[in-house]
Structures are given as C-alpha cells and as structure tokens.
Subunit: 192 residues, 2 copies
DNA sequence: GCGATGAATGTTAGCCGCTAACATTCGAGC
DNA sequence: GCTCGAATGTTAGCGGCTAACATTCATCGC
C-alpha cells in the first residue's frame, strides 16, 4: 500500500502530469518535437494549454526531466579526496552507474531519441545539467579544489556523459552501460 | 586599398550589420538580454525588426557568433595521428591559441559577459559548438578513431574551453590565455 | 450532510520571437 | 535616365509563454 496516504488531490495532479508526459512523448516521437504544439499535447491529454504550463515551466521540460542529482551527490562524497578532480568525478559517475538498475523504464530511450532528432533540445540539455554541475563544483571546492579546475572537471565529465547518451540514442538498440563506460574511459583510461 | 572593390551594396549591408551588432550588444549589456526586445535593437539601429532577422537567424545569433572553425580545422590536421584522440584535440587547441592574436577586440569580453548573465544564452552556446564538433569528429574518424571516442574527446575539450570562457567572464579583468591553458591542463596535465 | 477552504484547472488577453508573402527603395551598370 | 537586383519595409499570422481573474472540486470542521 505504499504511498496510499497521499491526499487524493495530489494524486489527481500526478495523474494529469503522467498523462501529459505520456501523450507528449508519444506525439513528439510520432510527428516531431517542433511540429507538435503545446496546445496539441494539452488537448490530447484532455487538458488546457494553461494547465500544461502549470506542470512544466517550458515545452522542453516535458522531455528534459531528470532527478538523478541525489544519487550523484552521495556518490561524489564517497570518493577519496586525495585524487585529482577529474579522476574523482569520473569515478563518482562510474559508481553511480554501477548502483543504478540497468535501464529502468523505456521512457529514457524515447526521450533520448526525441532529443537526438531535435537541435533545440540538444542545446536545452545543458541548461538542465547546470544544476548538477553547480552541485558538483560546490562539493569539489569544499575539499580545496580551485574553482577553475572544479568547473572544468565537472563540465567535462558531464559533456562526456551527454555525448554518450546521444551516441547511444543514434545507434541501434543496445545496452547503455557499456557506452557510458567507454565514454568515461576516454577521460580516465583503464589501466589493465 | 584592401577590399575597396567590394560593391557598395555589400558595404551598405555590412554597415547595418555592424550597427545592429553594436547597438545590440550595448543594449543587452545595459538592460539585460531577456529584457531587450528585437524590435528595440532594430529601432535603435534605425532599422526594422524584419531587417534584423535578415541579418541574424535568431536573437541569440547576434551574441553567439564565432567564425574560428577554419583555424581549428588546420590545427587539428597538423597534430601527429599517433596520439590518443583526447590528447590530440587538446594539443590542437593549444596550438590554435598560441597562433591567435592576444584577445583582439573587446567585443569578446562584452559577449561573454552577456552570456554569463543569461541562462538561455549559456545553453545556446552548445548549438553553436555543434558545427565545430562535427568537423573535429570527421577529422578524427578519418584517421581511424572510433566514433564514440571521437565524439567524447571533442565534446569534452569544447566543454573545457566553454567552461574556461565562462569563468573568465565571471572573474574580473585578466588575460584569457592563462585561463584557457589552465583549463586544458585539467585534461592533459603538464608534465614538467 | 453542509458549508468553507484551498488546490487544480479553465478563460481571456496579450507580449515576444519568428516566418511568409508581397511591396518599396536605392545603388550599379548600361 | 532606365533597368535590374539587392537591401529594406509592411502586413499578417503562428506558437511559446505569462498574468489576472474565474471556476470546479475534493477535503475538513461543524
């Protein structure tokens, strides 16, 4: 009965939210992101355009949604502070990936495919990662890393992950794990 | 008399273009990018909104303009193909920077400061770099580098440069060269 | 049960980025 | 001077997004 106690009002909101995400991703995938109107998505979800914007700040946000920061945060804290910043961030993400259930839902695939096909979304991805980057930079600076090195190390690793995701989306159907791993190997070659 | 023979018609176009850039950067810097309307910039430049869009595809493009690709292209070709892709791209950019006149115009500073202050522009930067990245990836693949490594190596280096530019913009007045150099050092530590 | 409260949604109006189609000015060359 | 074409102007409209106000509807105290 987990989460059965949440108020029905909140449930109602979650339901429309989920309906918007489902119909949105479906329409974007079917007829293209740019060719799909927010009004269309809203109508197909049985709701008003205004309600759409009450659930997503922008049209992009329906596609670019990722609440993985907490996982990353705890992972970076568990890395030994003696390492150089780049290696440290790389290993933090390796650990995050090891502890993640392989793939989870298929939405991820759909999302990435939409992003791959849409230039404006590819750019928009970076707005999303800025939060993550800021968090990582704070962590590194707290341990004495100078600001420039911290900023460069984090933005570089996030760029590698992003590139890996896009490549994974462009290629046919395969597991994501090895692609991520190979991308990080470019920054920290495996010695062995 | 260099370039004196270009038709006056083309000169006229260049002049309005320059006027748009000047007034645009001035207004963006003074009252903020988002708070400034394309119509305002056009009017201040003594021109119509439509003319603005005949010179720049989007509002962003007035700020995000960089024709450095040719320099980079020749530099990547001069790197020995034996190196691993990351080192190769890093060294190519080190060389580009050595051969560049220190700083040049002050527009760069203004542009970066506007970008630093405007989230949507920070994201938009990546749309611009996609062209550069594609070119670099093609070069690397031509020499036998596998696609993923090529994509990751280039996107990572471009991310480092971008981070360096933003940090330089955030900090007070100093030369850009050392910041770029230090950023690249994160990816290829100096041995000596 | 019933009314009151507040959350979720609806309605309307409008700004701004951007595009298309058509009209106009203005410089270059005969 | 006239003609051609490039640069600019005009008008109309779509789509993303916001603000201000109205409405439905589930919950809670009574």
């Amino acid at each position: 009965m987990l989460a059965a106690n949440i108020h029905r009002m909140a449930r109602r909101r979650e339901q429309t939210h989920a309906r918007l995400v489902d119909t949105g991703l479906r329409l974007f995938a079917a007829q293209g992101y740019d060719a799909t109107t927010v009004a269309q998505v809203a109508a197909a979800a049985g709701v008003t355009e205004m309600t759409f914007y009450r659930h997503f700040a922008t049209k992009q946000d329906l596609v670019l949604d990722d609440p993985y920061d907490p996982l990353i945060e705890s992972s970076i804290d568990q890395q030994p502070p003696g390492l150089d910043p780049l290696t440290r961030v790389v290993r933090a993400f390796r650990a995050v990936w090891r502890n993640l259930p392989e793939s989870g839902n298929d939405d991820v695939r759909t999302r990435i495919e939409i992003i791959v096909a849409t230039p404006s979304l590819r750019a928009g991805t970076w707005a999303t990662t800025e939060r993550t980057q800021q968090m990582l930079v704070d962590r590194l600076e707290a341990d004495g890393t100078d600001r420039l090195s911290a900023v460069v190390a984090t933005s570089v690793v996030l760029a590698a992950l992003n590139a890996a995701l896009l490549e994974w989306g462009r290629a046919g159907r395969g597991p994501l794990g090895p692609v991520i791993s190979a991308a990080l190997d470019v920054l920290e070659p495996r010695h062995g």
